[in-house]
Symmetry: C2
Subunit: 156 residues, 2 copies
C-alpha cells in the first residue's frame, strides 16, 4: 500500500469545507470568502483533485422524485476467502447497490440498496443476488425512515 502524504494547510481545509457544502460554488466566490486571488484558489483546487483529495462532485438527487423510496441494508455471508473480493466486486456492479463494504467478523459484506419498493427489493434478491455463486445467506434490514444522510466529513 502506498503511503501518500497529503500535506493540507488551513487554506486547503477551508476550500474542502466550502466545496463539501456546495460543490457548485464558483472559484471567484471561494476566493472572495478566503480573501485570496481567484487564480491561487483555482491552482489549489486542481492540485487537490490531482492528489485525490477531492474525489468527485455529485449532485444529490431526491430518491422520491425517481421513485426509489425504499432503502435497505443487507448483510451477505459469503464463501470468499480472506483477501478475495470476487463477490464484493460482483455486488458492486449492481446499479441499485450503492455501497459494498467488506466487514469484519463472519466473512461477509454489508451492502446498501435502493429500490422503488419492497417488490423491487424482492426482484433484486430473486433475480440478481441469487445469481451470484458463493453467497451463503443474507439478512436484510429495512429502513423505515432516514433521519440523516449526509456524506460530509468532519473537517478539522
Amino acid at each position: 500500500m502506498d503511503k501518500v502524504e497529503y500535506n493540507l494547510d488551513q487554506v486547503d481545509l477551508q476550500i474542502l469545507r466550502i466545496m463539501q457544502q456546495n460543490a457548485r460554488t464558483n472559484n471567484a466566490d471561494v476566493a472572495r470568502e478566503l480573501g485570496m486571488a481567484p487564480s491561487a484558489i483555482l491552482e489549489r483546487v486542481k492540485k487537490l483533485e490531482q492528489k485525490n483529495v477531492l474525489l468527485e462532485y455529485n449532485a444529490r438527487v431526491n430518491p422520491e422524485a425517481l421513485d426509489q423510496k425504499m432503502l435497505s441494508f443487507i448483510f451477505i455471508k459469503s464463501h470468499d476467502n480472506i483477501g478475495d473480493q470476487r463477490i464484493g466486486l460482483l455486488l458492486a456492479e449492481i446499479p441499485e447497490v450503492l455501497e459494498v463494504h467488506d466487514i469484519a467478523g463472519d466473512d461477509g459484506y454489508l451492502i446498501k440498496v435502493r429500490t422503488s419498493d419492497s417488490g423491487g427489493l424482492v426482484d433484486l434478491m430473486r433475480n440478481t443476488l441469487s445469481q451470484i455463486d458463493g453467497i451463503v445467506s443474507t439478512r436484510t434490514t429495512i429502513v423505515l425512515e432516514t433521519v440523516k444522510e449526509d456524506h460530509k466529513l468532519v473537517i478539522p
Copy 2:
C-alpha cells in the same frame, strides 16, 4: 404527508444524469451536450432545485486525506416509542455520524460513523453515545474495506 408530483421528462432526467456524474459541469456544457439553449437548461435546473429534485451539490473528499480511515455501522437499540425520533435526532447531531436510519424490527437505529481509527470509535461510544439517555444497547460492525461507495441513483 404531501403527495408531490415531480413530472420529470426525458430532458430533466438527462440533466440529473449529467449532474449526478459531475455536479460542476457548467450550464453551457450541459446545454451543448443536450443540444439546447443555455437559458432553457438554466431554467430547468432552477426548477429542479425548487421542486426539491436536485437537493444539493457535494464534493466527495477522500476520507484518508483527512485521517478518517475508519468506517463502522452501529445498530442502536433504543427506548424510543413508535413515531418518536428523539434519539434519532440526537444521533444526527453528532458530526462523525454520517447517516441515521430508523429501522424496522426491534426498535432501533442503524448509524454510519467515520472516525480516525478504533480509538476514535471508542471515544465516540464512551463520550458521546453513552450520554444519550434511552439507548439500551449497541452492536458495532467494523468495515475492513469499502469496495463501492457511491450515491448515484439509478436514473431510468
